[in-house]
Symmetry: C2
Subunit: 172 residues, 2 copies
DNA sequence: TAAAGCATGTAAGAGGTTACATGATTGG
DNA sequence: CCAATCATGTAACCTCTTACATGCTTTA
């Protein structure tokens, strides 16, 4: 997962560890720690996915290798399995531009389906909870309602992305 | 964290493992696994926080003990530290009703402050990214924008909860 | 020349998941 | 009586964080 994100960032250009941490943080959903990042870099180097191209001073910049490109491609193309994390999906999304259009739409719609399913079961649980008149904590209800609203907004957002893909499609 | 959630659920009534898993799942943000839950139960029992009151058949129901109540109280009252997870906050929220009103407002406003800070830095990064005309991936931008919108909606929601507390306050 | 920030790295451990093993209970 | 679901439990392992250790580089 972290490996995937690192490879994705190195697709654009060589970067050193510190820079990768910043770039990852700027994606907004993950402030990865050095204790996680540096071991990941060595792991990737050992696999031959990246290679060090020494930077200025103490910096150790890495570039992606042909082997790394292959690995990145495999990770990107693999259909996201059902248990894909929130984070994993966001990383996939961050690099979705590297996928051909039909593939992109597939990923987005797969996610949409999953969220719809979640939403449906959340709705049922909420109805149940509300009819269970006594004793239902109002914070718990507020939490559930807000989660549902957020999911609905996520779905609408995904629909927007898909629509944009299709819109572009007619011009491509 | 899991311990906290388990204690919180056992505050209401005795429950067995399977039931705890379901209840936790119904909160909406965490489908905990058995491999995590059962060891947690034994851990809590060893600490004297819960005790088994045998249920029907194979079921092993647990109830919270006086010691468990103390632990739950401590966990609930501790000011959430800066690195509190999303999940940890949601659990805290699920049991916020057990806290006195002023404390509740404190927790909500603490969270609001954190989200505001995040939002501010996200906005700066986004402005930066947009002015960096070339090469900024559109999916990355969409991701950042959506994250910002979600955070804004979360803040508005928190404001609503705080307003509700204050509204109730004048009647209590 | 000291402080602040940049940069890399390791060890320990927190906090989970997956996969497996086992068996009871219920419904068609 | 068979399948599905309920129910408990263990072992292996994965992923990431925290805390620590180290030293370079820039700037006031």
């Amino acid at each position: 997962m972290l490996d995937f994100a690192v490879l994705g960032l190195l697709m654009e250009r060589a970067r050193h560890g510190y820079e990768l941490k910043r770039a990852l943080g700027e994606l907004g959903f993950w402030k990865v720690s050095f204790g996680s990042l540096y071991p990941a870099l060595r792991r990737l180097e050992k696999r031959g996915a990246i290679s060090a191209v020494s930077g200025t001073g103490r910096r150790k910049a890495y570039q992606i290798t042909d082997e790394g490109l292959k690995i990145f491609d495999t990770l990107l193309k693999a259909d996201p399995d059902a248990s894909e994390t929130e984070r994993a999906f966001q990383i996939r999304l961050a690099f979705l531009g590297h996928l051909p259009r039909e593939r992109r739409v597939q990923v987005l719609e797969g996610r949409r389906t999953k969220l719809s399913t979640n939403l449906k079961s959340a709705r049922e649980i909420l109805i149940d909870a509300r009819s269970n008149t006594e004793n239902q904590d109002r914070y718990r209800l507020a939490l559930m309602e807000h989660a549902m609203a957020t999911t609905e907004s996520d779905i609408a957002w995904l629909d927007g992305l898909v629509a944009a893909e299709r819109g572009v499609a007619s011009q491509n």
